[in-house]
Symmetry: C3
Subunit: 354 residues, 3 copies
Amino acid sequence: MNINDVSFERERPDVYGDAHPKALLRAIQEDGDFLVKLAKQHIVSGDQFDQNTMKQLFRLAAKIESNPKRFNSPLQNKILISAFYEPSTRTRLSFESAWHRLGGDIMSITDRSTTGIAKGECLADVAEMFNNYGDCVVLRDNNENSLFEMMDALRIPIINAGNGIDEHPTQALADMYAIFKWRPELVDPESNEKVKIGIIGVPSKMRTIRSFLKCLSVFPHAVDELVIIHDEASSDDLFDNGQREELEARGLSVRTETELDDVLPELDIVYINAISWEGDTFSTYGDAFHLTEKSPLKEDAIILHPLARGEELSTALDHTSHNWYFSQARGAVFLRMALLTCMVERAERVMDVV
Amino acid sequence: MNINDVSFERERPDVYGDAHPKALLRAIQEDGDFLVKLAKQHIVSGDQFDQNTMKQLFRLAAKIESNPKRFNSPLQNKILISAFYEPSTRTRLSFESAWHRLGGDIMSITDRSTTGIAKGECLADVAEMFNNYGDCVVLRDNNENSLFEMMDALRIPIINAGNGIDEHPTQALADMYAIFKWRPELVDPESNEKVKIGIIGVPSKMRTIRSFLKCLSVFPHAVDELVIIHDEASSDDLFDNGQREELEARGLSVRTETELDDVLPELDIVYINAISWEGDTFSTYGDAFHLTEKSPLKEDAIILHPLARGEELSTALDHTSHNWYFSQARGAVFLRMALLTCMVERAERVMDVV
Amino acid sequence: MNINDVSFERERPDVYGDAHPKALLRAIQEDGDFLVKLAKQHIVSGDQFDQNTMKQLFRLAAKIESNPKRFNSPLQNKILISAFYEPSTRTRLSFESAWHRLGGDIMSITDRSTTGIAKGECLADVAEMFNNYGDCVVLRDNNENSLFEMMDALRIPIINAGNGIDEHPTQALADMYAIFKWRPELVDPESNEKVKIGIIGVPSKMRTIRSFLKCLSVFPHAVDELVIIHDEASSDDLFDNGQREELEARGLSVRTETELDDVLPELDIVYINAISWEGDTFSTYGDAFHLTEKSPLKEDAIILHPLARGEELSTALDHTSHNWYFSQARGAVFLRMALLTCMVERAERVMDVV
């Protein structure tokens, strides 16, 4: 074996370089009150974040991403209960990595069958137990209501890391963070900059898209138009009851299309997802839609994807400048570091001015 | 979504307030020798604790519960091997939370099928491996004998966290700790205070009750009478061979009853459990017995339950002053913190006088 | 219960006493450059280590084993991703214990079905995710190629902890470390000392033996003769294509035998293994060969075994001076501590001279 065969490069140039978080950090002025208030909230839905709170979270995430080594101790002596009753490594490790990087300890539950729930214990009792054992809970469960059953009994914060087809709010915050790192000027309501965003997916059935649209609609000034690209099969139940109307009421201009390649040349951001979680299993939508190196993308368009991906997004795009989905995944760790710090009453340890 | 929907209160009044551990702490004089001696023992059975050792453990637990933040580092650089071959989250997280709060690191095994045991490795070899990898083992296994097979090969302490139907000694210590926090004067053999204790369960088949009775019988001065409440089906094998005689020889007055509501008005403490572990599965006993808000409890009676609970204990009682089962579960973390610190030779780091 | 029944001894005399690592430490002169270079490599194969690199690793392992408490912080703020897609506790805990003892944090994956791979995610995407979440990956997978699929996408080092029937290089390093602790003079090419080594196993099918032979062949000066002991059934495919020739080209004298007890009286080291991993399951070889207290071993011969063991190695030998397999397992933790420290660019924190 040649030693070159096993060598690797720690530093490789990428599209989401160091300059991006710093530019976003400079674009937002600190106002720590919005972060301190997060310590009194569970994180349930994309709906619970106003523009100021999101901006402060993005600023803090950008500050951490700009210099991660400075932030290795704010969660010392804090314990995370990482409860993933639905299979997941990506989201679980993203949260756990965020928590560990901040200096905290973790207890993981990766399987419902190893828990008291298997013995018929009610979720409120599990939550009461969690009160005694940790400082924060991250929950993924394919039952939409588990989150709400636990919330009522909790005296420590819980974070929704995906509840059935309902929501996945921290994914949506990470999506928005990626967009604002790419174009920091969009964060400013006074700016005249706008982008056209296409979403390949089903807003009624995909929790990532449901939460993303809620967060996006808090920044209507930045959105020229929102285009939902779907296949014919999804036409009838593309939106939930009132979902589209709510987005329009908040100021988004919404259009639907069924021909991907006709729309692509217009789009600045292409958000693609093909998986929807339904009970114990998942469905795949939009087999007709694939992004490849031959797709007629605008030269400076970026692609976002909540990952994991399947056939819908070609790996041939990974090494192009359209690839912001890896940046999006990387930034999710920093966004979660920002959020977690606030939720366990440690915001003041990471603020510039206290 | 209204922000009020996701807000929560960190501090809520509860029946097991801050005053309780402090009163117990004051009621017991420190004698660290009993704690230091624990470093040479495995924790196997409720039988191995004398009155003085238990009192010192309860005192240390009360000291930690009174001011947990003072005790965040005694287990630094110590590694726990948390081996739960039988499904459990409550007990596992209770131990792991205790260990993490003391500043230690943890390696978890939550499934026999992921271990070398699946390849036919004998438990003595697993124990030899544990000697090299950690500083303490916590073991739950539905096979009663696994604990003993490991013990012989271990040079680090092992704690029995439930071995089949046999014993669960740290649960029993936590039960006793809850009782003495509630009424600290009971800990003193010179006191004339006594309580009447009812147990709804099957002493021959439930490990929690088996261990609890062993610990309780070390404090016979505090027990006016012990009443075992059982259904007719359990009459013939309510006790193991010699189990009742041993309790009586230690000074407990034991009575059995089959009508719950006739006995309840007499009882100061009602200990209820309905689950028994048998091999790979569990049985539920005493379907006839339910504690509800209509049960004829004495006004100042307390209810204990090792949890997880089922139908036998109504959630309507959670918000009454009878609820000491949540306190019991919470206190179990502090009791385990006290015990674990002693077992890895760190008692002197938490003693008042060294 | 008598308290003596639950007492244990922390310190017991063993054959791998304190003096052994110190003697090896003294036998090798420090040359840190070889350790610093490891930070640029994945650990894939026994073939990638030259004599100097191995010697420096053994020296560092011996230094740590001689005084482990001195080395409790070099991995502070470093995160290990411990990905064991094939059942294992021994190797997983050995790595995790090593990492924790050095002060690092860990995220474990113990089951392929809980990961995104279950949703059809490709391994390169999993690797991209790992880049964001941790500082080092340890991978065990029954698919030989998983390691290579991940490597290409990684910007952090990965360690092969067993890939199908292919290799298990850190086990081989631990094997060599045990041999050199036993006889430090063997490490020196100028020495005239040589030993005769017998291997009971199938070099073509057992990853531990494959890797061990590669590492052993880097020290041909120490090997008088290598005897492969096999049953008739394995005769035809005892070696892979070219495997024996490569060993001979490197200077080993190789012989094969089928009668164990005829060969045993010649051997200084007896390496025995009976398990081979093949896909999702394992096979057992050499049922005919058993080492017992009646085996005609040389008086000062040592036995090595990668463990877990079955019937092939009698526990009656555990308490004899032939037992170096427990030392081998214990030393594996220190060997891995040495290696891991180097791989995450912390070698300079543990070197005598910087």
